[in-house]
């Protein structure tokens, strides 16, 4: 995004929170927060219910076929699986609110520790991929819109079509072959952790982030292009041209901000996807991320882990939606005033 946009948004933010418009903005944020809380409540009920109806008893699964009834019952007690539904739900939610996510059946360590370790891989990876995707997609989409109907546009549209059609793990393998084996610039997999410094960790995340970002960038560039072309047909662009703006100035100064709403929506959705949906890429690059954790949790009937990670992801999605909603209101004054 051009720097002019950033400073504009800064001044807008200032106006929204510091000026006369502070009340509508707070009101807007408050209503969004309430809907966030209600969504979380609804999600926790659904997750709890789904996990309850999944067949298979974790205790008997863990102890094997030969275990006696008594041992299974004892383990079930131990795992907090006995007691009424309501009791268990309240204990689960209450635990999460105090940071206690329970103990994993299989790993025998607190789930919060497990998740925290994985989050330190998945969150930076998702942010890295999202940043790459945005940085690539916005200028490319703008260029295609400005050159619509001309060879540059056709070229970009063809490339993005390819980017969407080709699965990201194929990109991942291609990247490994080219940039890790033929020219060994980046490691081909594994994650050294953040203790060894930011440099090596980022290097390890680069190829997976690129592989994740390419299809996302293709989608985002197309959204950017069509949103921008849509705004370019608006009357206010004609007004801007009649004021003496060049076509490029009209796009940057008037088209961009108006095209941001659909683009922000897609960016929000992509972040949620990248956080949990990177499982195949995690497999290809041997990254200990959240996707693999949840996959293992499911196969091993480690329901506490599944419940907690899914809840965490839901929380992340809802939080991102909330942030996107706030960003909408910053971009579009009509939303601040509740229209």
């Amino acid at each position: 995004m051009p720097s002019r946009m950033a400073s504009r948004d800064a001044s807008l933010w200032h106006r929204a929170v510091g000026g006369t418009n502070v009340r509508p903005m707070i009101h807007y944020a408050a209503t969004r927060l309430i809907s966030l809380a209600l969504s979380l409540l609804a999600a926790s009920l659904v997750i709890f219910a789904v996990v309850e109806v999944i067949p298979g008893d974790p205790a008997s699964f863990m102890l094997g076929l030969n275990a006696s009834e008594d041992t299974v019952a004892a383990l079930r007690d131990d795992l907090g699986l006995s007691g009424g539904l309501l009791e268990r739900y309240v204990a689960w939610v209450g635990g999460m609110l105090t940071g206690d996510f329970g103990t994993s059946y299989t790993y025998r360590v607190p789930v919060s520790e497990l998740v925290a370790a994985r989050l330190w891989v998945s969150l930076p990876l998702a942010l890295y991929a999202l940043a790459l995707s945005t940085v690539i997609a916005l200028p490319v989409g703008m260029l295609a819109a400005a050159r619509r109907g001309r060879p540059t546009d056709y070229g970009i549209m063809g490339a993005t079509q390819l980017g969407i059609a080709v699965p990201n793990f194929w990109f991942a393998m291609l990247l490994v072959v080219l940039l890790a084996i033929t020219w060994p610039i980046f490691p081909s997999g594994g994650f050294p952790g953040w203790d060894g410094g930011i440099g090596p960790a980022l290097r390890a995340l680069t190829l997976p982030a690129v592989a994740l970002a390419l299809p996302q960038a293709s989608i985002l560039a197309r959204v950017m292009r069509s949103a921008l072309i849509e705004t370019l047909n608006q009357d206010y662009i004609r007004t801007a041209r009649a004021k003496g703006l060049t076509e490029g100035q009209a796009i940057r100064r008037h088209g961009m901000r108006n095209a941001m709403i659909p683009v922000l929506t897609i960016i929000g959705m992509q972040f949620s996807f990248l956080l949990a949906g990177a499982i195949i890429i995690e497999k290809v690059f041997f990254l200990p991320g959240l996707g693999l954790l949840i996959f293992q949790g499911i196969t091993q009937r480690d329901l506490i882990v599944v419940e907690s990670v899914v809840m965490l992801l839901v929380f992340a999605v809802i939080l991102v939606t909330f942030l996107v909603d706030l960003a909408y209101a910053l971009v579009d004054p009509r939303l601040r005033h509740g229209r």
């Binding site: 006369t20 041209r241 009649a242 004021k243 003496g244 108006n258 004054p333 009509r334």
Partner: protein, 522 residues
């Protein structure tokens, strides 16, 4: 000051303008009149060189010795906004919704490097005050959505004149506005032209507006100027048959044969319609807005009743209630004695039909005319003689039964409005609600549709509720008229009596604001 010499324009090989030559002096207004497709907007865009892709322009445009047609795109950008300002028809969409009005006016100054940021804000403030948007009620950080249509058009004018251009091009600047707002904006433009010594190129389809605004007039038809001259002289001594036809069509009054019954077909008594609004505070009560506030109206069978009022007066809300689309919060509506509600029986619904302003918007573009016309029968069950009835209504509205196999885009605007009328007729209704049904049409087409409506009324004994903001049209086609303001009927009576001697101040204001065609000396 500005001269157009032999302008020819084609877009994608299709000729749009042919040998257009015009001349305008500083401090004067040149009106360009014509119907849609006459090339009047394209003439303006040729001066601005803001033409669509694939346009080929030849001829010379000269602004004070400078040949604009010889300038490159960069140089034209320096001319646009600085030497030539332009305002457009749709004030609602002409401003960027996410930028404050102050920023949008100041941008004209900033883009031409005419002022520093703070200086630009100061001049923007001053120009907005000049167009009537004072700083106490309209601070610079207002956004377009907080303004009405007329106020937005004032902002557009402010940004067009921010650098005191030599030429102001106004392309149908008041067509989308109410009559009283139109009068204010026209007054403002006249004043600016006089005080700033600008030349003004005023484009409109409305002869009455041009008669009020312009010193000289050029009449355009199919890309050519067919007649031009000083406004008074031209309107009193028209030479070209097209000008005469246009003038006649503007004043057209269909011949109507009164055939009213004594019995009332529609009775609305004490109708109240409230809308709930958004909460002001998080858990506050929902405020409500009374759009229709105790309206009484009666229409006799065979009568034609006009309902006039400006946007937001509640006339569309009332219409929806009369059609039984929305429930009332008080009072009642009866059609031939039966109560009208959203869940009324289909047969009662059949007896009233509606024709809207924009037929294109109310037709599914992928359906053939036959399917569009048989739509009302989803409600009533398909009659055995459906095809015969489709052919019959098409012929009644002046189309042919073969048109049933065509799609809406194959018809002109006037023909589409005929299809909309045919769709209303097919259920053999008694009451037809005409909601701005001729407002979007060119004057010559409008005259034909008004004739058609008068003929259909006579032939089928139809009753019309004619809703419009256009007083001339209401006067031409109605027996009685109701004037609505802020949800209430403020005046009603025989149409001629109300128009000749309005008693309510609001009616007087409306009639005074409406531009009137001078009578031609024939």
């Amino acid at each position: 000051m500005i001269t157009l010499d032999q302008i020819n324009l084609s877009i994608g090989g299709k000729p749009i303008l042919r040998d257009v030559s015009l001349r305008l002096q500083a401090g004067k207004t040149l009106g360009i009149v014509g119907e849609s497709g006459s090339g009047k907007s394209m003439t303006a865009l040729s001066i601005m060189r803001l033409l669509p892709q694939g346009a080929e322009l030849s001829g010379k445009v000269t602004l004070e010795e400078r040949e604009l047609t010889a300038l490159g795109e960069r140089q034209m950008c320096a001319v646009r906004g600085a030497e030539v300002g332009m305002i457009f028809q749709e004030p609602m969409t002409a401003l960027n919704p996410v930028q404050s009005i102050g920023d949008q006016v100041a941008e004209t100054l900033l883009i031409h490097g005419a002022a520093s940021r703070s200086e630009a804000a100061r001049i923007a403030r001053e120009r907005l005050a000049r167009v009537g948007l004072t700083s106490d009620r309209f601070p610079l950080d207002r956004y377009p959505h907080e303004l009405s249509g007329g106020q937005r058009q004032r902002v557009c004018i402010a940004l067009a004149i921010a650098l005191r251009p030599k030429l102001l091009i106004a392309d149908e600047p008041t067509t989308a506005l109410d009559v009283t707002t139109q009068a204010q904006i026209l007054g403002l433009i006249r004043e600016l032209v006089r005080e700033e010594g600008m030349g003004c190129l005023f484009i409109t389809h409305d002869l009455a507006v041009v008669a009020e605004m312009a010193d000289d007039v050029a009449v355009m038809k199919a890309g050519q100027v067919v007649e031009r001259g000083a406004t008074d002289a031209l309107l009193h001594d028209m030479q070209h048959p097209y000008t005469k036809a246009l003038f006649e069509a503007s004043r057209h009054c269909p011949v109507r044969i009164p055939q009213m019954d004594e019995a009332h077909l529609l009775e609305v008594s004490g109708a109240v319609r409230d809308y709930t609004l958004r909460r002001q505070r998080l858990f506050g009560p929902r405020p409500s807005f009374r759009a229709v506030d105790g309206v009484d109206l009666r229409i006799r069978r065979g009568e034609s009743l006009g309902l006039v009022g400006e946007s937001g007066c509640g006339k569309s809300t009332l219409t929806r209630a009369i059609l039984g689309l929305e429930p009332l919060q008080g009072g009642e509506i009866r059609l031939d004695g039966q109560t009208v509600t959203p869940d009324m029986p289909a047969d009662l619904r059949r007896r009233m039909q509606v024709v809207f302003q924009d037929p294109y918007g109310s037709f599914n573009p992928r359906h053939k005319v036959s399917r569009l016309l048989s739509e009302p029968f989803h409600l009533l069950g398909r009659p055995a003689d459906l095809d015969a009835r489709i052919g019959e209504v098409l012929e009644q509205v002046g189309l042919s039964s073969a048109d049933a196999d065509r799609f809406p885009h194959e018809f002109s605007g006037g023909q589409r409005q005929r299809i909309a009328i045919a769709r209303a007729l097919i259920t053999r209704p008694e009451l037809i609600v005409l909601d701005e049904a001729v407002s979007a049409l060119d004057v010559s087409i409008r005259a034909q549709i008004l004739d058609l409506l008068a003929e259909l009324q006579h032939r089928h004994g139809l009753t019309y509720l004619f809703i419009s903001h256009d007083l001339t049209v209401v006067r031409a086609i109605t027996d009685r008229v109701l004037v609505m303001k802020a949800g209430r009927i403020v005046e009603q009576g025989e149409t001629e009596a109300v128009f000749n001697a309005p008693s309510h101040p609001y009616t007087r204001a409306l009639l005074e604001a409406a531009p009137v065609l001078p009578l031609a000396a024939e």
